[in-house]
Amino acid sequence: MRKSIRSTTIPDRLLLLFLVVASVAGIFLAREAMPESDEVVIEVDGHPAFTAALQEDRVIRLQSSSGPIEVEISSGRARIKEAHCPNQLCVKQGWVSRGVIVCLPGRVIVFVGGRDTQKKKDLDAVTG
């Protein structure tokens, strides 16, 4: 394995360096670009289906194309509690305090903290 590492070419190493720097920078940029808010927005089939405050603990039941889906909000975080998709990836993702949970088979997207603040910012610019 040491020979393999030594036999890498200079372009190999430059490419590795570039990819690491670019993707780490991208992670921070994406974090910056994502506006903060205290809302949970649930989209079904690309249409907003439900908006709830992140502070308010509650359980939301929705119908998706793969059956009923249950979103739980508790102490500033949200999770998909129950879904009827085959591999349960969205349920396994667990609690999210800021970000996105996607259930591909059910075509459900849960935005946690931030999506509509961008619109509010635009409005601020108009009114203020």
Binding site: T8, T9, L15, V20, I27
Partner: protein
Amino acid sequence: MQLRDKQRIAVLSAYALALHGFEAILPMPVPWLRIGLANIITLVSLLLYDFRTALAVTVIRVTLASMFTGTFLGPSFILSLGGGLSSTAAMGLVHAASRNLFGPVGLSLVGSLFHNLAQLFLAWLLFVQRIGPVLIISPVILLIGTITGVVNGLISSLLIRQLTKENADNPADNSEL
């Protein structure tokens, strides 16, 4: 196509399928995370043989693996095939355009990058249809892909050195693979 080429593609595809299956049973911290071990076989096929062999091995591997797991023509098959084809095409083009510029590690990084770009694009086009979530997750996926790409490249490099050494030691026996 010669019979020997067919045998070679069959053996390489079997290796790729075995690695694909092995990877599926490895426990992963995040469910959608893949190391892409099968890409080692694609890369070795490209470097030891030619682009056609690498492409055939990739298509056979993706198709058969999806048939075995029952996801043929489903969403994960489309993502898998799109990623596999674009990564093989990108590695083939870069290899053909710059013979000695990139070693196995560089080519593996190119393959991993285009695999992920194609999958993110397909996921956006067919399933998510919103650019926001895709852009947020992209850098994370590309960073993980870079790490697994280096690992796969190093393994490929090791494998290629061993295989060419064996052939050099015993030139009569180079039809085995």
